[in-house]
Amino acid sequence: MKTLVVISGKGGTGKTTISSSFAYLAKNKNIADCDVEAPNLNLILNNKLIKKEQYIGGKIANINKVKCIKCGICKDKCRFGAINSNYEIEEAKCEGCGVCFNVCPNNAIEMMDDETGNILLSDISGGKFAYGKLNIGADGAGKVVTEIRESLKKYHNADLTIIDGSPGIGCVVMASITGCDAAVVVTEPTQSGLDDMKRVISLLEFFDIKAYVIINKYDININKSEEIKKSCKENEIEVISEIPFDNYVNKAIKENKPVILFEESLAAEEIKKAWNYVKEELKI
């Protein structure tokens, strides 16, 4: 089984457009939307929800007001400022470390399960699709990503897993790229797109994962596209596709379909080429 992750560094470059089309083109597959903070793939993939599971990713402290003697030790030792002057836990700040629980002289603090979010599993044609819904401000988004990937493995033995990643380079992205066979980096011809691509490629190098670059909307600024290609060449990274700006992309999102289904779309044509290339490289 092979795993391909689609990431970008910068947000809004077209990860979901690419991965939804790849998802359509792949045969025996698992699809994971690992952009757990703002998941969009479920809007595009025709899927039928079969299972929803609560995910507990951590702990949160709770102070028993009757037992609390307001000695102040917990407040003093908490490094996250999570205990306010009324000796109540500020949920958004508590990281669930358990320092307060361990230092309280009166056993007034208990550690409770903290729901990180939900994991949803769906049927799609040719496989399974999983995504997460993170609770607002939840710690442990990376753990939800790992859980999404694990749950897919349990339910369907696929030839290929495609992961739609999130922007950035932090814990969520790291959990998404861990153990992947290759990464498609979707960028756009802007200075931000270029800088962010470089950062995410460094991260992939750090994890020893091969990167393939797609320049989306390459004709918005041809000079920047050339700069991106030059930067890739210097780092021996292949640019496998240059997708033109195409109104069909927005039309597709509006109609809840992958753009690949629009025969006249120039973007679809380029995505197909990119897919065939990746398929060949991954030997699937």
């Binding site: 947000g11 903070e37 030792k77 607002i136 401000g137 710690d139 802007t190 509006k254």
Partner: protein, 278 residues
Amino acid sequence: MNISVLSGKGGTGKTTISTNLAVRLTTKGYKTQYLDFDVEEPNGFIFLKPQIKNREDVAVKVPQIDEDLCNGCGLCAKKCNFNAISVVKGKVVLFEKLCHSCGLCSIICPQKAVTETDRVIGKIEKGFNGKLITYRGILNIGEPMGVPIIEKLQEQTKSDYINIIDSPPGSSCNVVHSIEGSDYSILVTEPTKFGLHDLKIAVKVVEKFNIPYGVVINKSQQDNIIEDFCNKNNIKIIAKIPFDRKIAHKYSKGDLLINDEKIASIFDSIISEVVEVD
């Protein structure tokens, strides 16, 4: 006054709004700071091109084990809620990147074998664009947690300044730590189903913390999908920036938009809506 700019979805125009707003405020004579809290991919300086005056490392505390004192009892590993410590054959193994720097292991070690040491995870840069003070946080490649840098950036906000906080995308801990203490949030979206879906997430975030907010529609076209949602839910739309390939081209080069009179007036209306209220 702290104004945070967020979006849920990435790439809707947070940095475009934040940088242009900060420069426009400065031009109008407001004491302003721009702070890039998107520490995983900070892009604001591309547009502001500040002269960097100061760089400072951001470090977190991680445990350090005195092997002469440690008897391998394993209590630290057992108590660590982040699985950052394990004890193999009586020897402590640390997974520093999982550590949240809570200090529990050093508190509970019966042998007093745990002290703490600094580990650098990124840096903060300070610079100037004319009178505009600019900060950005940068998370080192391979580091999972940006929150400690975000907290350090929070310390740089000044109460007698307008602080424009360019927030990260998403809805998790990074975002919540960025908008803490905001007097107003600007939610930037685009008129697509993705934009709307993620705007709803951003609305949940600011409502959870009772922060007053308004919406900016970027790349606005004929589609009224955002307007319909906002009207239905009594959410104020404070500005619309039209979709225009010329704007996209300017952005792509790393240029600000407010040299254009028409765009500047859009930012003036944001300022009168958000800042110039009594």
